[in-house]
């Protein structure tokens, strides 16, 4: 009796190990097939892996900023934690929307990501923007938005 149950445990152990291994294998293959690794880089091509961002990517290659900034420079915060949290959050949101197909066209930036981009403008162009922000202090309680006028410096649409 004891020997028999030992054998069953061994068998079950092998089976569950194999099942788990299979899962990891399929998962790794999917990750590789979906070019999951590319999302951990700074390469703008990764953002156009799926075709949804194709127009934005092509727009960027022709834009004034393509020589000085990649997607992540304008679309993620400039600190380590913020960058990876934003990459994770956007990665989840975009994958979910694209997989379910449930998103409105034409695609548009949301408020959270707009704020990140706005901050990115001010980060690189600090000397200029701080002068502008402090110029009209008497009346202007609200900041001017760079993107209101310069919405197409990164890419049109």
């Amino acid at each position: 009796m004891a020997r028999g149950s030992q054998g069953i445990v061994t068998l079950l152990g092998i089976a569950s190990g194999a099942a788990f291994g299979l899962l990891i294998g399929v998962g790794m293959f999917t990750f590789r097939y979906a070019r999951g690794g590319s999302y951990l880089t700074n390469d703008p091509k990764a953002c156009a892996n799926c075709h949804v961002m194709r127009e934005q990517f092509e727009g960027w290659t022709r834009s004034s900023h393509h020589a000085v900034a990649v997607c992540n420079d304008c679309h993620t915060p400039h600190d380590f934690f913020g960058k990876w949290f934003t990459k994770g959050l956007n990665g989840w949101n975009h994958s979910f929307a694209f997989t379910t197909g449930n998103f409105p066209e034409p695609i548009r930036i949301g408020p959270r990501n707009r704020a990140i981009t706005e901050a990115a403008c001010r980060n690189c162009h600090a000397a200029l923007t701080s002068a502008i922000d402090h110029a009209g202090e008497s009346g202007a309680a609200q900041k001017l938005a760079c993107l209101k006028c310069h919405w197409n410096v990164g890419h049109a649409h």
Binding site: L12, G13, L23
Partner: protein, 499 residues
């Protein structure tokens, strides 16, 4: 049940079973994702399969649809009838008869605004004039309109209500222009026998390359005249137009003002002097053309027909290089493919794709802006319409009370001018949106001509020993607010129409 010995394996079994279930769900999920990614990647590859060899001799859109199923699916949707505030089309039930088997038609514009009947008195349009439906109906609606019963229509009409390319090639033995001439000559129902389909792929696309092309000779000749007046001689639209221009020109093959020239009823676009409304009017005046004689006033008048291309050309979108296709056939994504939406329709029914690509405002705001332009245009159109009704009433009155044809010649000319310009803005299918300022300018001119005509009649009566009838008194220039001199004579439908 034993108490101790089987315990460890049973717990192990439970743990293993639970973890197996979790692993199974996870595996199913990952595999589903994998398949989804695979599908998306497959979509992203060029999915064009040539299953039919298309030639310049095939006009059946269903055959083209085998090679281009996505475009064809959208093209077929032009059967949809959806209203917009001022246009679109509404499915109105119709009792089928022997002569007219349609069970659904579009709303009657004559019922919406009875003033149109007065404007077109003596012309077939006063008998039946409905809101136009989608491209799918162009052939059957023309065949079955009451206008066919009232007047014998020429074959030239079929030019823009059917896919005529193959018919023209056949009738001209390969020469498009000769075939075009032949089709123009025929009585309508003979010409009808030469065609099978409403506008089809082949009318705008080259069968080999799918590039846009113009196939209607009337447009080739018309646009050459426009370019010649701008200093470009011998313009060949299919060789010299840019790709972006073509995205408007293919539509301009039909959505334009035209007339039938001479006894051979040659379909002609009146663009010798340019595309603006009064330049077209000046051309008609110069060649002494009239569409018909107004039944109530005997004025030699003109009917303007859907001048969308001309009106668009005067607007800010045209100036910015935005063409018909950009708003009426915007790019849509089907799977990974970006295609032109061949469901041609009002952008007001498709604001996201049509407008938001360039105008980054909320849909509701964009729609409100467009409708505000249309509301203003429509208000002015109603004032101009009232002014024209007043002039027609006065000319008719003067004719009955014995003013001579000589004396009435100028007031009748004012009616002709006022009526054409009003009709130009009215027949144009955007309620002013294609070129808001130009629309207002044309309606302002029309209003002025109508009032000038009335003023001239009033002067004539004064000269005739001051015995003029009260109804011939001129209206104040700001006419709308002023009391009507003869309130009983003409009802004021515009009040009822201000929705």
């Amino acid at each position: 049940m034993s108490e101790t010995a089987p315990q460890p394996p049973r717990r192990a079994v439970r743990v293993v079973l639970i973890s197996a279930a979790v692993a199974a769900v996870a595996a199913a999920f990952i595999t589903a994702l994998l398949v989804n990614i695979f599908e998306k990647k497959t979509e992203a590859q060029n999915p064009f399969f040539r299953v039919v060899e298309l030639t310049d001799e095939i006009d059946d859109p269903a055959v083209w649809g085998k090679d281009f199923p996505l475009q064809y699916d959208q093209y077929k949707k032009t059967v949809d009838q959806v209203r917009t505030r001022y246009g679109g089309s509404e499915a109105v039930p119709h009792t089928p008869t022997q002569a007219d088997p349609r069970s659904v038609v579009a709303q009657s514009k004559l019922e919406e605004d009875p003033r149109l009947v007065t404007m077109w008195a003596g012309y077939a349009f006063s008998k039946d004039f409905r809101e136009d439906r989608g491209h799918a109906y162009m052939l059957s609606d023309q065949e079955l309109t009451q206008r066919q019963v009232v007047v014998k229509q020429p074959g030239a009409c079929i030019h823009c209500h059917a896919s005529t390319y193959l018919a023209m090639k056949r009738l001209g033995h390969g020469d498009l222009t000769k075939g075009f001439d032949a089709l123009n000559h025929m009585p309508y129902f003979d010409a009808r026998k030469e065609v099978q389909h409403p506008v089809a792929c082949i009318d705008c696309h080259d069968a080999k390359t799918m590039a846009l092309r113009v196939t209607k000779p009337a447009f080739m000749e018309g646009i050459a005249k426009v370019k010649a007046s701008a200093g470009i001689p011998n313009y060949d639209v299919n060789k010299m137009a840019t790709r972006q221009e073509m995205r408007a020109f293919v539509c301009g093959q039909c959505h334009v003002e035209y007339y039938f020239k001479g006894a051979e009823k040659r379909l002609t676009f009146p663009w010798d002097k340019g595309l603006q409304a009064e330049k077209i009017l000046a051309y008609y005046d110069e060649i002494g053309f009239k569409d018909w004689v107004h039944k109530e006033t005997e004025a030699p008048v003109l009917k303007a027909q859907h001048p969308e291309f001309e009106m668009w050309s005067q607007g800010v979108h045209a100036r910015s290089g935005v063409t018909c296709a950009d708003c009426h056939m915007p790019y849509i994504r089907v799977g990974a493919q970006k295609i032109s939406d061949h469901h041609v329709r009002s952008p007001l029914l498709n604001v996201a794709n049509a407008c938001q690509t360039c105008h980054r405002y909320p849909e509701a705001e964009i729609k409100e802006r467009a409708e505000q332009i249309q509301n203003r245009h429509y208000e002015l159109r109603n004032h101009a319409m009232d002014a024209l009704m007043d002039l027609i009433r006065d000319v008719k009155d003067a004719k009955q009370k014995g003013l001579s044809d000589d004396q009435l010649q100028k007031p009748r000319d004012f009616q002709r001018k006022a009526q054409f310009l009003l009709d130009f803005a009215e027949a144009e299918n955007s309620t002013g949106f294609h070129a808001p300022q130009e629309g207002s300018r044309i309606l302002g001119l029309s209003l002025d001509y109508a009032r000038q005509g009335q003023q001239m009649l009033a002067t004539l009566w004064r000269e005739k020993a001051g015995a003029g009838p009260p109804s011939a008194a001129p209206r104040a220039p700001s006419g709308v607010e002023a009391p009507r001199p003869n309130p009983g004579a003409v009802a004021n439908p515009s009040d009822a129409m201000k929705r």
